[in-house]
Amino acid sequence: MIDELARELARVGIRGRRRKRILTEFADHLACDPEAELGEPRQLAAQFADELASDAARRTALGTFSALAVVAFAVGVPQVTLPTVPDIAGGRSMFLIGPATLAMVIGSQIAFAAGALAALRALRFGGPQEVGLIRRRVAVALGGGALTAIGSALYAVNFWSVVPSWWALLAVAGAGASAVPLAASALAYMWSSSITVSHKEAARGLSADLGPLARPWLVGAAAVGTMLVATSIFERSVVEGALRGSFEAILFLGCFLALRRPLALTR
């Protein structure tokens, strides 16, 4: 029984000290009562895997959300301390500034949305069948965070000769510092993803996270409206506001269609 349990635990990804401990406890149990009915090793391993994977996924989601807050600070401080926004054509290359800006705009929004949804589902956890969804949301959030940091570094490199050197260094340092929490979360994610859960049922949709506010189009309209109004005020141009609002609408629609299924964005 112990040998079979060892194999089953390894099969579901429980290895090392945790597996050794479980096996020692069961060996002790059988020594106390050789006739004990300890169940099927496969079922037992699945039970441990579900418990461990649920716990790890929830911790990873909350840890990732905290890591993204650090990234937001490290990347956000240079953005708000930039003395004057340089002319878009005044940098090293248009081929650099385009992808850099897109990476920052898209990456930050995806990271925030996926990270917040992962954390919400971790707090409103409904059982092991939601582990897969939390893992996908964490992976997308980490990808978005990395994209934002890379975009910020590329932005600074592009304008290196036209912005104050302290600012360029601050932006690159901020992007570099972001790598630490992102890497720590990525490691936690990889560890938690190594355990196989037995539940394959579909996770609940967006209403499990947002309740009556689970209306994607309402969230999209709020994002577009905020972009439109904020840009119109800061740039003192309704045309500029409308342009950026339209861009935000296209961006939201594209991301929603691409991520709707993997992140369970339907009600």
């Binding site: 401990r21 479980i22 020692t24 406890e25 069961f26 060996a27 002790d28 149990h29 020594a31 106390c32 009562d33 004990a36 009915e37 300890l38 169940g39 079922q43 037992l44 039970q47 441990f48 418990e51 461990l52 716990d55």
Partner: protein, 103 residues
């Protein structure tokens, strides 16, 4: 009785450990003894629950040696005692309400 108590497995384990540190097998035996054999849980379900309660900080565990074998001993933490008190209150209220309704 085993299926009915499934949702109350955690406080039942905490209650058993409130009177002293025990290893897994002893927890199961104590559960059977206290329930007069009525609590017929599948034995293997107790171990994942012990690990879960430890990860939640409600129990802590350590290795010891008995009869030449390594053995994991579990004991209640302060958080575990608070959780047990809270779940006990919750159960008493629930039982009182249902008791008042049933004929």
């Amino acid at each position: 009785m085993g299926a009915a108590v499934k949702g109350y497995l955690d406080p039942v384990i905490l209650a058993v450990l409130a009177s002293g540190a025990l290893h897994g097998y002893a927890v199961i035996e104590e559960l059977k003894a206290r329930s007069g054999g009525e609590l017929d849980l599948p034995e293997w379900t107790v171990y994942p629950a012990l690990h879960r309660l430890e990860r939640r900080g409600l129990l802590r565990s350590s290795w010891t040696t008995a009869e030449g074998r390594r053995r994991r001993i579990y004991r209640l933490t302060a958080s575990g005692r608070r959780e047990l008190a809270s779940r006990t209150r919750e159960w008493r209220t629930f039982a009182r309400v249902v008791d008042g309704v049933l004929p």
